[in-house]
Amino acid sequence: MGNLSIFPPRGSAFAGQVDLLYTFLLVVSAIMMVLIFGCIFIFAVKYRRRPGAPPPPQHHGSMLLEAVWSTIPFLVMLVMFVWGAKLYFDSATPPANTLDLYVTGKQWMWKVEYPGGQREINEIHVPTGTPVKVTLASEDVIHSFFIPAFRVKHDVVPGHYEIAWFQATKPGRYHLFCAEYCGADHSKMGGWVNVMSPADYEVWLSGGERGGSMVDQGAKLFSQYGCVTCHVLDAKGRCPSLRNMFGHPVQLDDGRTVMADEAYVRESILDPNAKIVKGYERNVMPVFQGQISEEGLLQLIVFVKSLSQPPEQPVPTKGPPVTAKGSPK
């Protein structure tokens, strides 16, 4: 309070870019308002009705004026469109080598999991200077992951994986809100994003409770659900090897090729028959729909991903060796 700015805190460079575009629109709007309201005000005063005056001259219109006042605003709008589209494109395509977080929304909390296995509820810790990619999943209804300080928002849709990313520049504690109405305590489904300097972040990472890393947890689930019995990792048999599958195109038996991303792996687990890998049979892999929790799925995916991870990993994921302690619920 006491802060009269019309801008929320700027926690990232992207926030500044959005504010600049917003300012451009504010200026254009101000000019339009001055023009329109100015004309109306002047006309209303200057041409106010005077008793006994003759009927006013009639104007039926002017092609030229119509052309001018449709074209010029439209051209200005094209500037808005292109500028907005450019920023949107940037905000929708995360760079390579991100620090990956996994966030699951459920009525009414945010569960956050780090690749190193740390877990938090309604709190997120990130370092400055590293792009952070958040994979969003929902256990129930639609939520929306909203961090005003980063000008970032993305709906969290059950049955989909959505991606949001940001790169914080300024240490601080920023609001995390749920922006899509999700039931009784929607307005309380909030939390905080703690942006720290990389050094502080390292300290934070090494302290605190954790289970095994997400890869370890995923590996455990991989045997627990019997995936190993079929997907022997380095051999090809009745089932495709998952080694070096993630991030590469997959040939399907109907001739299509799909990119193996998070959504594809998710679908392959929950509904294997939706897409069949070329050369393999339908109805071999069991349907896991409804059997694995959203968090378990994310761990499995991180594990599958690790099978084809390029050697260089983003710094913050390494952390000290982890003891497998506590299993996913």
Binding site: Y22, M77, Y88, S91
Partner: protein, 546 residues
């Protein structure tokens, strides 16, 4: 012998109001003017109900922790406020009241094409309304007026089905009214009333009707699917059953974006009438204003995806919808420019309806300009589902449509009732509404950009001052709406008699029909010989009003 003195009565000539009395003459009437009045009273009742919910919300929001209600109750308040205001007040407001009353009068017809269907529409509306009120009385509903799945299909344990039935039934009322208008405008125009002599009010209702007839069935189907999902777990929208929740949003907005134009086009039609009449000028760019209505109706079906920019539709779809949304702003801008140009060198009077027209242009311009912010994808990502969107649509729907509705009610009040309203009070109320409106909703733009999400029963403490400001404005706005209800009710019984054409306006309803009109509108069939708004010919005022 007993002598009684009676006030000398001026015998009223027979008109649609005094021709018959008794409740049957109203509830079984097929006269479009009487049906318009049935709508007038029923939508006013719904406006009061919806308004009461808003009062509750604004009170609650004066404290960050919620002053009065639990979050569950607050969620029901905003849901029922939205549903009542949109489906039971705003959508029927101008079309079903003023459109019903005026379209036959304006085109020189004795009634609408299907008078009985017109009555049926009102009954459907009332049935829908009663079901909605029953849903409220039995505990309410908490899905938001948007009914997003899977919350509405699987998780909410309130009266979703009952409310959905209410909206479904009211939707058919809207479809039938639209159908009636389209056929009437095509088939019942008086001799000489060519398409390009139609008042712009009729053009805008024509465009509105097209949307109602083509769009409303889609929302009806969507509601049926929602019911199937909720009752029988059909697996259409809920991912746990193999459905897709985004599909619901596509279906819902395919209707509901065009529906926002059902909620503004008729208002634009009213403003075209007001600006010409109170400037005593023919409208500038008649063809452009008329066709911009049609352009809006067509384009409005192509932009629904701008409500899904952050919900996971493909990025490229988002870009296309962004571009199309900018395009739909152009015809709206054209209208504003043409109204402004109409005033140029006019003879402008400041009667109450014109004050509302000024208010409309001001507020709608702000609503439209902020629409551009929302169409700019990168900005929308930040402000969608925040108070910025709430402010935007209140500027267009309340600042636009409700201002136009009030302006229209004042403008045609003499025609409808045969009486004049008190001008001083009316101007005062118009001013109060304008000030109260801006105080209520302008702070919400700032709140939204600062990041306060919408549909929040509680909020972060730094948002309190702007929320208190907004609530203070809302109390002024509320008073502004109550004053007209009081003096209009008074004037209906006691106001001075109105002549046939108190404003010196052009148009068959003013020039060829007395106030109030007889049941069949015209004593003799009018023949049209001139274009609309021919204010160049000496204005045909029968008498300047006091």
């Amino acid at each position: 012998m007993n002598i009684t003195f009676e006030q000398p009565k001026i015998k009223e000539s027979p008109n649609y109001l005094n021709i018959r009395y008794g409740w049957r003459s109203w509830l079984l009437t097929t006269d479009h003017k009487r049906i318009a009045l049935l709508y007038l009273f029923s939508i006013t009742a719904f406006f009061m109900i919806g308004g009461a919910f808003a009062v509750g919300m604004r009170l609650n929001l004066t404290s960050p922790n919620g002053l009065l209600f639990s979050p569950e109750t607050y969620n029901k308040l905003f849901t029922m406020h939205g549903i009542i205001m949109i489906f039971f007040f705003l959508i029927p407001s101008i079309p079903a009241v003023l459109g019903n009353f005026l379209i036959p009068l304006m085109i020189g017809a004795r009634d609408l094409a299907f008078p009985r269907i017109n009555l049926l529409s009102w009954y459907l509306y009332i049935i829908g309304g009663i079901v909605a009120v029953a849903a409220v009385a039995s505990g309410g509903v908490d899905t938001g007026w948007t009914f997003y799945a899977p919350f509405s299909t699987t998780y909410s344990n309130t009266h979703v089905i009952m409310t959905a039935v209410a909206v479904f039934v009211a939707g058919f009322s809207s479809i039938l009214t639209g159908l009636n208008f389209i056929v009437t405008i095509h088939k019942m125009r008086a001799p000489g009333m060519t398409w390009f002599r139609l008042p712009l009010f009729v053009w805008s209702h024509y465009a509105t009707s097209i949307i109602q007839v083509l769009g409303t069935p889609v929302v009806a189907i969507t509601i049926v699917l929602l019911g199937l999902e909720r009752l029988f777990h059909a697996g259409i929208f809920d991912p746990k059953l193999g459905g897709d929740p985004i599909l619901f949003q596509h279906l819902f907005w395919f209707y509901s974006h065009p529906a926002v134009y059902i909620m503004i086009l008729p208002g634009m039609g009213v403003i075209s009438e007001l600006v010409t009449c109170f400037s005593h000028k023919t409208v500038f760019g008649y063809g452009f204003v008329a066709f911009s209505s049609v352009a809006i109706a067509v384009l409005s079906f192509l932009v629904w995806g701008h409500h899904l920019f952050v919900s996971g539709q493909s990025m490229y779809a988002g870009l296309i919808f962004s571009l199309l949304s900018f395009m739909v702003a152009v015809p709206s801008a054209i209208k504003v420019f043409n109204w402004t140009a109409t005033m140029y060198r006019g003879s402008i009077s400041y009667d109450t309806p014109m004050l509302y027209a000024f208010g409309f242009i001001g507020l709608f311009t702000i609503g439209g300009l902020t629409g551009l912010f929302l169409a700019t994808v990168a900005i929308d990502v930040h402000v969608t589902d925040t108070y910025f969107v709430v402010a935007h649509f209140h500027y267009t729907m309340v600042g636009g449509m409700v201002m136009a509705y009030l302006g229209g009610i004042h403008f045609w009040f003499p025609k409808i009732t045969g009486r004049m309203y008190p001008e001083g009070w009316a101007r005062f109320a118009a001013l109060v509404v304008f000030v109260g409106f801006n105080l209520t909703f302008f702070p919400q733009f700032i709140l939204g950009y600062l990041g306060m999400p919408r549909r929040y029963a509680t909020y972060a403490p730094e948002f309190q001052s702007l929320n208190v400001l907004s609530s203070a404005g809302a109390s002024i706005l509320g008073v502004g709406y109550l004053i007209p209800m009081i003096y209009l009710a008074w004037a209906w019984n006691r106001g001075p008699r109105a002549p046939a054409n108190p404003w010196g306006a052009k148009g068959l309803e003013w020039e060829k029909s007395p106030s109030p009109p007889p049941t069949f509108n015209f004593d003799e069939m009018p023949v049209v010989t001139e274009n609309a708004y021919n204010y160049g010919a000496a204005p045909g005022a029968t008498e300047a009003h006091g």
